[in-house]
Symmetry: C2
Subunit: 188 residues, 2 copies
């Protein structure tokens, strides 16, 4: 439970409550935390490993929307709050461990602890701003700029993820990412 400290500042009582209610779960590589069509029932706090959230388009291609590593949250916020089926998949990229906070427990915490309320509201807002920036970046920059920005923002992920995962996140093909990495020297 120590990992949560990195994210939430909790009193001993709050922490005890949280420990009682959250459930630890392990995921193998490729295992799903959420599949398209399901309603997202949990916020998952990643204590070990890495998850990717992605959408599969009509052509069957995967598009990574975000990654969640240690001390970050994974959830389909839209589906969670609206209680409508998700259009997204959340899948373990590595063997991982998460703390699952079920909706009913979230409501419990929301109503009992002000700090909890605020923490999660801020998280949604931050996510919102990130998304907005990413959209603008997608519109206004080249693949190369996006990749260099990715490396700058997530140096750890650059080593940790495959070419294909990163390419999907920045919206290009793995082949083209390979060329970018090799200095675009060998451009066709």
């Amino acid at each position: 439970m120590d990992h949560l400290d990195a994210f939430l500042t909790l009193s001993p009582i709050e922490k005890e409550e949280l420990t009682k209610r959250a459930s630890l779960k392990k995921y193998k590589r490729r295992q799903f935390l959420l599949s398209e069509g399901e309603v997202c029932q949990n916020y998952a706090f990643v204590s070990k490993g890495c998850f990717k959230t992605y959408k599969v388009d009509e052509a069957g291609k995967e598009h990574n929307i975000m990654f969640a590593v240690e001390n970050q949250w994974a959830a389909d916020i839209g589906s969670f709050h609206s209680e409508k089926p998700s259009a997204l998949y959340i899948e373990a990229v590595e063997p991982s461990e998460v703390l699952l906070l079920h909706k009913k427990d979230m409501i419990y915490f929301y109503t009992h602890f002000y700090s909890f309320n605020r923490t999660f509201r801020v998280m949604v807002e931050d996510n919102f701003v990130d998304l907005q920036n990413r959209l603008i970046q997608m519109i206004s920059t080249t693949a190369e700029e996006r990749y260099f920005d990715f490396v700058k923002r997530f140096p750890d992920l650059d080593n940790r993820l495959s070419n294909a995962q990163i390419a999907s996140y920045i919206g290009i093909t793995p082949e083209f990412l390979s060329r970018i990495r090799n200095g675009l020297a060998n451009r066709p």
Copy 2:
């Protein structure tokens, strides 16, 4: 104040309170509701006209993030909640009228009316989901698909906005939008 009914379901008492606190303001075409660097202090409910929210990139180009017409809200949600300077502009595209709800009044309503709380939380979440879908669309579809989707989703806006505004929203040049509109027949 009648316009608000379209969006919020309010009791007579709530409506009265809202009327007392919200301030009506008119904007000329090209006038700014918010400029880059300012902290967003208001949620603006558009009762007449249309606003565009956009970001100016390093190259000086404008990128429309969203439009807000009658019965919709305009605000930089990120800046409003974080109280940090905005990176966005919100500008009247037409002569417009809005109801301004200042942050302090929002807090008043949040604490006094449950429905208000919920309404705005849902709005942020809906905005979030829309953004997510737009990002995916931007990555996975062609300019032509995006334009046709835009027309389908906002048939009114297609007539109401200039080529350049729509092009900026779907992330292409006005010239290319013109070609799309004319059936791509006269492709270079």
